[in-house]
């Protein structure tokens, strides 16, 4: 099954850059059979990215109240995940939870959709990753690579 990894974020807002940095690192790793994409502002663009893709992994910074650097793995293919997803950061009108539930309502959800969230500490303008999130980077990339290598969906 083809796999697409989508990194979501904004490079200019500290820990919100996480999703994009993960994609940079995966690009350098050149994983066979894995396509990479980013969503930087308009989360609705993920609906187009879902089209024709069997398995999608998404990675984004979140603000759920967990300790900074905490990694959450969420299977969004099975049911409504709005409550868990509302903690994902969005600076715009349609957030990730709404985009995913919109895709579900429109029958556009890929057969497998796994979301990795990393608890952020800082969303201020202009800063780089906070130490806790930078420290979690290798771990979340490792988990995504493991998921990519796995041929069967969880």
């Amino acid at each position: 099954m083809s796999t697409l990894v989508i990194g979501i974020g904004n490079r200019d807002r500290a820990d919100d850059a996480l999703g994009l940095i993960v994609i940079d690192r995966l690009q350098a790793a050149a994983l066979p059979g894995v396509r990479l994409a980013t969503a930087r502002g308009d989360v609705l663009t993920v609906l187009d990215l879902f089209e024709g893709t069997g398995r999608v992994l998404m990675v984004d910074a979140m603000r759920s109240g967990a300790a900074p650097g905490y990694i959450l793995r969420l299977d969004a293919s099975s049911g409504v995940v709005k409550a868990q997803l509302d903690s994902f950061a969005s600076t715009h009108t349609v957030n990730l939870a709404e985009a995913i539930e919109l895709a579900r309502a429109l029958g556009k959800l890929p057969p497998s959709l796994i979301i990795f969230g990393v608890e952020a500490a800082d969303f201020t303008l202009g800063n780089g990753l906070s130490p806790a999130v930078a420290a979690a980077l290798d771990d979340v990339i490792g988990q995504i690579r493991e998921e990519c290598a796995c041929t069967k969906p969880h």
């Binding site: 502002g41 609705l44 663009t45 609906l47 715009h92 009108t93 429109l106």
Partner: protein, 430 residues
Amino acid sequence: MAEGRNIKVDYMARVEGEGALDISIEGNVVKDVKLKIFEPPRFFEAFLRGRSFMESPDITARICGICPVAYQMSAVHAMEDACGVQVTGPLRALRRLLYCGEWIESHVLHIYMLHAPDFLGKHSVVELAAEHPEIIQRGLRLKKTGNEIVALLGGREIHPINVRVGGFYKIPGKREFTELAERLKVARDDALATVEWVKGFHFPDFEQDYEFVCLSHPDEYPFNEGRIISNRGLDITAQEYHDHFAEEHVEHSTALHCRLKARGNYMVGPLARYSLNYDKLSPLAKQAAASAGLGTSCNNQFKSILVRAVEVVYAVDEAIRIIESTERPERPYVDVPARAGTGLASTEAPRGMLHHTYTLDSNGVIEFAQIIPPTSQNQATIENDLRHFIVPRVSLPDADLQWQCEQAVRNYDPCISCSTHFLKLTVDRR
């Protein structure tokens, strides 16, 4: 003794940015309405000081993920004004085309995702999509065509990178424009279907006497240039802006309120543009407006969804016209040599007129920057609308009143992060 109550919306959904609404009612009298904008100040004007005038379209594009083109256009026009250069011909036409893309993207997002749920009693577009997937699919398709214009001419969909002072960095090939025009012809049907859909909504009776302010151009529906006019006699150039408008700080908002020095609050946005420029719409857009039951002006902000739909028809129609009638420019830009001076420009962002003023030194380094976004110009009018809107509805239960007040704010498609700026609503009854 009169009963008092407070209605507070601490977090208002389906608006762009962070703010709140506090309404205080004593008996049947509305004592106070505050649209509170508490998104932290973003200091863009300070970032711009000390940077080259050539960097202004790239820096200001970052103010907004929904209307970056508007910021870029006001910035480049103001810089060209400061340097005494006017961009004409095909480059000017292509700037208009880029603006069409942003209007389609932004208006369709607001119509389908943010505003329509209010009229249909839904909390979000997700509920709407579950019942009418084909309608929401159409909205997404139409919005995507707007994105495609911005991506082709702007270099990417969000925060375009291809706009420069004097024109563009690179002009796409003829074939790419022709292919885009074919997709726009499909989008034109979707735009007309959007008008047919929204005209069936129920609109509260809420005609108000607004001072409308927008640009006006002798030959075209305004995007990039024109005189600043109003329905109460204002008729000035962008260069005279500060003689007539003043920003003031109010305690409950991190966005400055902008007022007309002579008369106070005013309204910018689709209703203003439509009511003062109806005769410049294309025949198809006029036909769509007539079908929607709109006259040659509109004073009911709840009908702004209809006007936005008509403007989408216009933007699609205009985009096709531009592509079909514009020769590909030989050079992607004209040279704009730096010189010391002050430049001013207003352009029509989807939410209304957006003004920029810059002062440059002789090397083109920005010494002063002032950006006056549409939402900060509308804040006082939004508060005024709510005062009048609540009076006949004061006996409604808090939950109903809150819903309708939130809708009255969303009528403006407020872009709070642009004006600096999220919405929380509080109604206080005593």
